[in-house]
């Protein structure tokens, strides 16, 4: 799904702790699509020779087409909170307060789809989903992808629209687990499953590449997958 969302972008950057977006980028590359992927945490052959500063300078110049952000909380206006919620402290805002403005498109991504995460209003705005007229802003949210569904961002209405519900989930379940209001067609489609050839790539060359950079994620996902296919 992330690979579909990346669409025709030429340069995708992946920041801290984002193994699933990195996997999508690796899948596109494995399909033979010409795509420049800048992986901040790449251990060997890292794309930068000035660390993360270079990532932000690239974005500032408009050289990053797609970026990914998660959030401890995400609200219906696409505001992102990475700092604190319900008395709990989270790691911090990272580069979100800049990248959300400077990257041409941002895909919001969070596996957990619950009212704890998808809230009516975030407790702390690390990075705002939209900006007042007159405030410089090159880009903003494109979509919100969770473990249950895909939402598209409607900039003019400042609201999400439910695009599709993943197999194994339902519209009712998505409504129940979402703390904010969103637009929705009652006949919302099911998210298309990955093609068999993509699955083969994911379990082969993509798994090897991602495990080199995100070893814990790689062993969790693919070793589990292997044992599952044996059973």
């Amino acid at each position: 799904m992330i690979a579909r969302l990346i669409g025709d972008a030429a340069h995708v950057a992946v920041g801290a702790a984002s193994p699933i977006p990195a996997t999508a980028c690796a899948l596109l590359a494995a399909r033979g699509r010409h795509l420049r992927v800048s992986l901040l945490h790449k251990r060997k052959g890292n794309p930068f020779s000035e660390g993360s500063r270079e990532l932000f300078d690239l974005a500032g110049q408009g050289r990053i087409d797609v970026f990914f952000l998660g959030g401890a909380q995400i609200d219906g206006e696409a505001n992102v909170n990475l700092v604190r919620a319900e008395g709990r402290r989270f790691p911090g805002s990272f580069g979100s307060a800049f990248m959300y403005f400077a990257a041409r498109r941002t895909i919001l991504f969070r596996e957990e789809h619950s009212r704890r995460v998808l809230v009516p209003k975030v407790e702390f705005v690390s990075a705002p989903g939209s900006s007042a007229p007159g405030v410089w802003r090159r880009g903003g949210p494109q979509a919100l992808l969770t473990g249950k569904a895909l939402f598209a961002w409607q900039a003019e209405r400042r609201r999400f629209r439910l695009e599709s519900v993943h197999p194994g989930s339902s519209l009712e379940e998505v409504r129940e687990a979402t703390g904010f209001d969103f637009d929705c067609d009652p006949s919302v489609p099911q998210t298309a499953a990955p093609a068999p050839e993509d699955l083969a790539l994911l379990r082969g060359p993509v798994a090897r590449e991602i495990t080199a950079n995100y070893p814990a994620f790689g062993s969790r996902v693919w070793e589990a997958g292997i044992s599952h296919s044996k059973s």
């Binding site: 945490h41 990475l82 900006s131 070893p215």
Partner: protein
């Protein structure tokens, strides 16, 4: 024999000697876990019971900060995040922040980079796009929003120059001239340029002067910025040094698990930090 110039690089015996030069209350700029943290010096700071340190994450922090916070060495953290990456939340930072035991000045990565770049140029601030509308701004009275003087109706935020007391990091090589080789981690040079003093631990000492080698020179931090150097073999462990040793992922997971409780953290310290450094460095 001529006296050394006042700004000559000092060669010290070990990480303990570097840690001894860092006073309580110092504002220390440190890199993320992926960019050559001086872990041996961090452990030595814990052993010397440093207090009141003010950490600056450039632009984020990881295990080095969590160790210092858990050991009670830290009064304040200014950073864009503290995290152990794949090993999860930094447990000692998280608890200390939730209980108000440390002050946290939340930032966003490019504001930190820009503040250091202003300091290395000797100018008072650097403008940056974005950030407006983030709640971070309300918590940072030192960040100023002005009208772009070169345009109309174009508010823009200014990162004030940041001059930390100490830049602290690890390097693969140092040489007899006091130069340090950072390789691709050239963002560390900016920290050293901006800081009042740079203390660097290193893996290996090279003979000669790396600035005379055209291939090495682009990755060199010149000795003019380096206040003191000390050897620390495997000094980034359990983090890595490219082409020397990789990240010890299993150890990071062990730490993350142990540090979930104060008791677990104490026993981690007993086992891995409070013992003399040489006795445990794995091969």
């Amino acid at each position: 024999m001529d006296a050394l110039p006042a700004n000559a690089t000092r060669f010290l015996a070990d990480a303990e000697a570097l840690a001894a030069l860092i006073p309580d209350g110092a504002r220390i700029a440190m890199p993320p876990d992926y960019s050559l943290p001086a872990m041996a010096v961090v452990r030595a700071l814990v052993r010397r019971r440093a207090r009141g340190l003010r950490l600056l994450g450039v632009p984020v922090l990881g295990m080095c900060a969590d160790l210092l916070i858990g050991a009670g060495c830290v009064a304040e953290v200014e950073t864009s995040a503290v995290s152990l990456g794949e090993a999860g939340l930094a447990p000692r930072f998280t608890e200390a922040a939730e209980k108000g035991e440390i002050a946290v000045r939340d930032a966003t990565c490019p504001m930190v980079h820009s503040g250091l770049q202003a300091a290395e140029k000797g100018v008072p601030f650097m403008p940056l796009r974005g950030v407006l509308g983030s709640d971070l701004v309300a918590g940072r009275p030192d960040w100023k929003v002005i009208q772009n003087p070169l345009a109309q109706d174009d508010p823009i935020i200014l990162a004030p120059a940041i001059s930390p007391d100490v830049a602290l990091f690890h390097a693969r090589w140092a040489d007899r001239a006091g130069n340090v080789w950072l390789g691709r981690r050239r963002e560390l040079a900016t920290i050293a340029h901006a800081a009042k003093a740079a203390f660097v631990s290193f893996e290996h000492l090279r003979e000669g002067d790396m600035l005379e080698d055209e291939l090495l020179a682009p990755g060199v931090l010149g000795s003019v910025y380096v206040s003191a150097l000390a050897p620390a073999p495997r000094g980034a462990w359990p983090l890595g040094v490219a082409d020397e040793y990789g990240i010890d992922d299993a150890h990071l997971m062990t730490y993350a698990k142990a540090a979930r409780t104060r008791e677990g953290f104490r026993s981690y310290l007993e086992q891995w930090v409070l013992t003399p450094e040489k006795s445990f460095s794995p091969a």
